[in-house]
Amino acid sequence: MDIAQKLPQWKAGREDGFDIEPLYINMGPSHPAMHGTVKMVLKLDGETVVGSEVEIGYLHRCFEKTVEMKTWNQVIPYTDRLNYVSPLINNMGYCLAVEKLLGVKVPERTDYIRVIMCELSRIGDHLTCIGAGAMELGALTAFLYFLKARESSWQLIEEVTGARLTISYGRVGGVVRDLPANFAERWAWVRSQVEQNMEEVSVLLNTNRIFLDRMKGVGVMPLDRVLSYGMTGPFARSSGFDYDVRRDEPYFAYDRVRFDVPVRTDGDNWARYQVRMEEIRQSVRIIDQALAQMPEGPVRLEDPKVTLPRKKEVYSNIEALMNHFKLLMPGHGIRPPQGEIYSAVEGGNGELGFWLVSDGGDRPWRVRVRPPCFPIMSGVEELILGEQVADIVPIFGSVNMIGGELDR
């Protein structure tokens, strides 16, 4: 798309014959609004963006190649680092893909635990995105309220997994350990924190004329462009693309909980803000239901070819000891049958897909990640075209670029 389509009133030269030389400016890779590392070369006429080039790749760390040299289980910690705002979803998404490749099904309780932990991460992800967006508009107070809410959810995640970011909680065939006994009451506390801070921020922003003016009608992405770019998630749903992996291709226990998928049709920053706010409420609803429905039972598959036997068994019986060694020795381990699989979960930003290819060995032959923010990032040049320099910041904030999963 070029500037003449997006901004018909703009002219490259002036009618009196004086040509205006555009101002080229490098925004990033070190710039407060460039969430981590991304570079935008902007072509400006005054404050209007009349052209841009977005450079990604500053956070490339060879994820996909590196994990080809790891065993199937060793990949798990690497997936934590993909999306550093909601690592649990990446973790669980990878485990789900390997389980599908292996053709195994995890115990029911695990499904619910995964749902709960994924939604907890999603809450944190959306809180960060909205809060950071507000901060970049100058509303630092809203940002700190949301960080406070996120902090409570991260504390709960830490209590469950033992870490805040590098959680590595998922395992092929289950999760590391069960939820702590007091999880339900801790969740009640987190929920009250989240709801209270949501209320405070809604009061600060929802009817704030300055905030509305900055968000409404800015960074519009029409539905056909969303589809042609392959965008998903809250970004696409705010343009009217009614698609949510959780509802349309249910995994874990999402088919057993009720939730709404918020959809807006405006496709602007304001719609994206509203969709994310509503998704936080829906995530709270999902966790409440999942906690109520969750059955008792094991949290890991008892399959000697997939999960490690219990330590007590390993020390007391030869069969378990052999299983233990078979899973851990180089050249053995989990060996999914030859084949390939694409498995997607709904990440914080949209469809997070893992395409795994197995040659029957103990290492993946290929791991391809479909990062949800990659298609969205490819639309950024179009999104900011014709907008003001100041609008780049909220637009880019609503894209919610996560360098870890984008550049891998």
Partner: protein, 392 residues
């Protein structure tokens, strides 16, 4: 002891010029101490703590001298030390003279404006009447406006000579913003000046002290209400509520603070001061605080009756508070406290705005300035003028 005082009194009475000279020095020292102490040190602490309270944080509290933390007050000293010790970086392509001049231009114009701001009425010393103003200018408010207009040169210069595209954008924004709002700022306050019929701050305060709302045309003739209104002082804010709201908004624009901090816009263009470091950078910060104090002061003088306290009357050597006689000194102290409290209130209110609102966009700020504030200010002035003529 008595003889010493007597001889001092005698000497002072004999040399009126000496009294005036000493008073001038004392006034200047007092004002500059207040400005530098509040603008340079205390306000940054207040801002830290207020934002912390609003955002559920503790705020800076670690700097300590001999284990005394004093609620984080020492952080300002630590900041000053850091600013002075840091490398003073001048970009190779920048003009060193202009680059250095910019921050001083920004802060000095703001400080100079305090010269015409009265901090009290007239006191009598040794037979001489001394105005509690460094420079009692009859055109006081025009001088403040002139200095406000000059203040932007510091910002513009800083952005222009830094030879950085981001700071250039900041400088352009500052220019456009200040030019657009200069007009509105002047017009908003004109309505109030129609009542005071003077450009001198002292006359404005005197007018507000000398009148009550019952004496205001139209308002005073309202049946039943007229008697009640006679008990309310005729402060500018009651006469010109719209003018006050517009003027308060315009002062935030002039200070370039959120929601009008476009020249800085630290998340978009990082700001006009991107190429400044160390103390020069801090001087820009300081000039913002000094301006914040300046405008709080001006607002109190023009719209909130200056040092007047309802019910308190200071006569010649007597003070009367709601009919009770008070010692003269405590009356003066009450006036000073009233003035200080009003200023503190507006400093607090400015920060409340600063930490609650997001930032405008460039075109929105132009829209607000030219299409909303300017017509409103004109309408306010016209209505006030017409009513004034009708009341005559």
């Amino acid at each position: 002891m008595h003889t010493a005082l007597d001889s001092l009194n005698a000497a002072m009475s004999a040399h009126p010029l000496l009294v005036q000279a000493l008073a001038a020095v004392a006034k200047t020292v007092f004002m500059m101490t207040v400005v530098m102490l509040i603008g340079g040190l205390i306000l940054s602490w207040v801002e830290r703590k207020q934002s912390a309270i609003m955002q559920d944080r503790i705020g800076a509290n670690r700097a300590a001298i001999l284990g005394v933390r004093a609620w984080g007050l020492f952080h300002n000293l630590a900041d000053a030390a850091k600013g002075i010790l840091k490398e003073d970086f001048i970009p190779p392509d920048a003009n060193p003279f202009l680059h250095t001049l910019a921050p001083f231009l920004a802060v000095s114009t703001a400080v100079v404006a305090f010269a015409v701001l009265p901090f009290g009425g007239t006191v009598h010393l040794w037979g001489q009447s001394v105005d509690l103003t460094i420079a009692p200018l009859p055109i006081g408010i025009l001088f403040v406006w002139a200095m406000m207009g000059m203040g932007v040169y510091g910002v513009v210069l800083a952005g222009y000579v830094s030879n950085n595209k981001f700071s250039l954008l900041g400088c352009l924004r500052a220019t456009a913003q200040v030019i657009s709002y200069e007009v509105a700022t002047g017009l908003t306050v004109l309505g109030a000046l129609l009542f005071y019929r003077s450009l001198d701050f002292r006359d404005m305060v005197a007018w507000q002290m000398g009148h009550n709302l019952g004496q205001v045309p139209f308002l005073g003739h309202l049946p039943d209400l007229g008697a009640v209104l006679a008990h309310i002082p005729a402060w500018g804010v009651f006469l010109q509520p719209l003018g006050f709201v517009l003027f308060f908004t315009a002062t935030i624009v002039e200070m370039t603070r959120i929601p009008f901090d476009l020249p800085e816009g630290e998340s978009e263009i990082i700001g006009y001061n991107i190429e400044y470091s160390g103390m020069k950078f801090m001087i820009f910060m300081m000039s913002e605080f000094v301006e914040s104090l300046l405008f709080a002061w001006v607002i109190v003088l023009v719209f909130f009756g200056g040092w007047s306290l309802p019910g308190l009357h200071l006569g010649d050597g007597v003070a009367v508070l709601f009919g009770h006689a008070l010692p003269y000194a405590s009356g003066v102290a009450l006036e000073a406290a009233a003035m200080a409290l009003k200023i503190v209130f507006f400093l607090w209110f400015q920060m409340l705005v600063r930490w609650s609102l997001p930032r405008f966009r460039y075109d929105q700020i132009m829209h607000l300035g030219w299409k909303i504030m300017l017509p409103l200010a004109l309408a306010n002035l016209a209505v006030t003028g017409v009513l004034g003529v009708l009341a005559r």
